[in-house]
Symmetry: C2
Subunit: 205 residues, 2 copies
């Protein structure tokens, strides 16, 4: 029988990887449907909003990677114990995504050389250290996790995405953040996550 | 007794308004703590990540407007009936936020004149019509709502934010989207929402 879940994304970690991490964490078998860049124009019109990753389950299709991750987190029981904990987890996830999307991607990927030069200074000297300092304090308060004082999908989301964030930043952004390094260790030591990292295809970032 | 919820934001609709709409929808009394721009530097260091809106409740502070909205949606019962409906609601909310943040704000607000001129064409002639067309189809399938075939916090989020999105776009972005107009009507006809709009301070966008 085919697996009940199918993940469609580029042959990359990036935005697909938090979804694959969460499925792997839960021991849920899934079809890891990867396509090459040259096939994207043919696939794009068949997605809900012209974007990937998408998740297919029981004949239904979902888009938006964070929404998909939250859904899977409920299935694999990596959510909060009450609504306020879920709020803290959601806020951590959206902060990491802001870092990736509004701060890094928009300055690094889509700009003219001149804007890159003007904005890279503040980004690397002020904005990133500010956010990472705050996140590191948060991880310290939560004993090596981003929220709720224990492993939640916020940690899995962050660490699954970290290779991509580091690729954009061209450095290890948590090199000076000991408590975020603990978050990384706490995610990567989970046996199911370890197994996934060993068996996954080589990254093409 | 002071209200149990306190919302702190600029004296604007924008990102604060979905939170105020949801509290109003649920008939929850809240302290609507607005500050003027000149006071922002003094307030900023006392927020969790240097950003507003923030929500205070029972001595705890939360940030990230969408995470706050999802929390309040649970309190006022505007969530899905199962995990998959919540996924559809979350995906709609993140799509609207992408439209605001990645598509509109980053092109319109933060760029040089030259980039504005180069990018405004594709934005208004291709990207916005594509997204709005998809969202309009989605609202049609859901009988005048964005998800689940009935009123959820995705609708409230969208309509509360619409004035701000239109302000950035310098036009009514749903003028040609009859089903998104139905979403607007369906939110604005709720008596508690109507009452809030009548009594709220004049917008300073």
């Amino acid at each position: 029988m085919a697996p009940a879940y199918k993940v469609t994304y580029f042959d990359l970690t990036a935005l697909g990887e938090p979804i694959r991490f969460l499925l792997s964490y839960g021991g849920i078998e899934f079809e890891d449907n990867r396509f090459q860049r040259e096939n994207w124009p043919a696939i794009k019109p068949n997605t809900p909003f012209g974007q990937v990753p998408i998740l297919e389950h029981n004949g239904k299709v979902a888009h938006q990677s964070i929404a998909i991750c939250r859904y899977l987190a409920k299935q694999v029981k990596l959510v909060g114990k009450d609504d306020w904990e879920d709020l803290e987890i959601d806020a951590a996830v959206d902060t990491i995504n802001d870092l990736r999307q509004s701060k890094l991607a928009h300055i690094i990927m889509n700009q003219t050389k001149k804007i890159k030069q003007t904005k890279a200074g503040p980004l690397f000297n002020e904005i990133l250290p500010f956010y990472l300092g705050k996140l590191d304090e948060q991880a310290k308060r939560n004993n090596g996790y981003l929220a709720a004082g224990r492993l939640t999908w916020a940690d899995v989301y962050f660490i699954a995405l970290l290779d991509y964030i580091n690729f954009m930043a061209k450095k290890d952004i948590i090199a000076d953040s000991p408590n975020l390094q603990s978050v990384k260790e706490n995610v990567l030591k989970v046996p199911n996550v370890k197994d996934w990292i060993e068996k996954r295809p080589k990254d093409n970032l």
